[in-house]
Amino acid sequence: MANHKLRKTPLLDDLQKGPWPSFVKDMKQIAVRKPMVNDLLGQLELSYKERVGHWKHGGLVGVIGYGGGVIGRYSDAPEQFPDVAHFHTIRVNQPSGWFYTSQALRDLCDIWEAHGSGMTNMHGSTGDCVFLGTTSEELEPIFAKLTEKDWDLGGSGSDVRTPSCCNGMARCEYACYDTMDVCYNITMEYQDELHRPAFPYKWKFKFSGCPNDCVASIARSDLSVIGTWRDDIRIDQAAVKAYADAGMDIRADVTRKCPTACMRYDGKEIHVNNKQCNRCMHCINAMPKALRPGKDTGATILIGGKAPIIEGALLSSVLVPFMKMDKADDYQEFKDLMERIWDFWDDHGVNRERIGECIERVGLGNFLEAIEVDPKPEHVKHPRTNPYIFYEEYFEDDGTDA
């Protein structure tokens, strides 16, 4: 039984109708014991009624020494809804691959129940586990309790956002490199960049173990690391026969759907022209027992993906076609590349400009030259259909001034 008067929410109540789960139902359960959530429902009802948001965002809120991990949020109607006058979000750095013990989840929930609204978002689009709604006074106590349990805050603002990855080799046979190890390694390497915003704008890493790209790194991260291989697709012709015997139409469902037409089925066996394969994964997904990625595995590094905020959405494009992702070398090749890119972005990026936008502005050629990466055919967008590709070394000086 609530000690406070529960808000009337006729418009929100409509969202509880039908067979689907409703966040309103969940929030009403919490509102009985949490006045903050009761006022949250009240403010949301007002927003539905007036068709306008009532949140203010940003400001000077955080924990001492950190510039990320806390997103300041305030009500613009604090007199009407005093318990959500402050309603800050906290991002907690998730474990690589989102593997938790039940005890770890209990620890997080206990901390949040004691110091916040009790509402979480598991997980935010950044990958963090997100605590929704607390006051400025509670931030330091929450941080102290989180760190006591070996948790840390994630990124926010113009810093390295919490890196995230698919669960890779832990559960997936397609993983071409150890995504969880790289994600953890990079998270620890760039703690300073994660907690102390020093960039023109946000920087997101996402690590996918294979071209299926289960964390959608190509669309959601400035720096996508997508597993790949540079030798041949492994084929088990006996398994191919088994698929055919079981009734699979291999031509219709597999070979004719190959986007580069690099494979054919002769009625008995599959043949692949591996030089034409663009690692789309369709055939491997369709016949996982017969086809597998090659053995010489690593990752393709892509750059510039982002969702639309200031400018429109961009997909990442290839920067390094193949990198070995060498654990023994502590991923030094990758880290060296990051340092060169950040140096460039630091010098040439303008405020609130993502690296993809920066590259579009200065030109890919200038960017590659500055970060000491040689131009390659893979840098060309749509290389199979773009006839306008020139390299400087192909131009000969004819001695005249053009």
Partner: protein, 84 residues
Amino acid sequence: MSDAVTTAQIADEMYNLVKEYSGKKRFKSSDLTKEIIGKHGDKVNKKDCKAALRELMDSGRCVYGYAGGSFIALPGEEGAAKSQ
């Protein structure tokens, strides 16, 4: 640390910049770094400035703020809360 410019000195100079321009200009980390390197030239580098910024933040003399992008400010009334 190169030559005689100490981390503490850089931190002081950064703090003075933030204080002088408080309410007029929002400095990003890179703005402060460029100002300091512009002033001292080869005597300081980005790593020195990074260490100074960390000292500035850990001491509580400055805090990070957010208004679209992150910036460095003097501690004070919470920005978005002001207009309540």
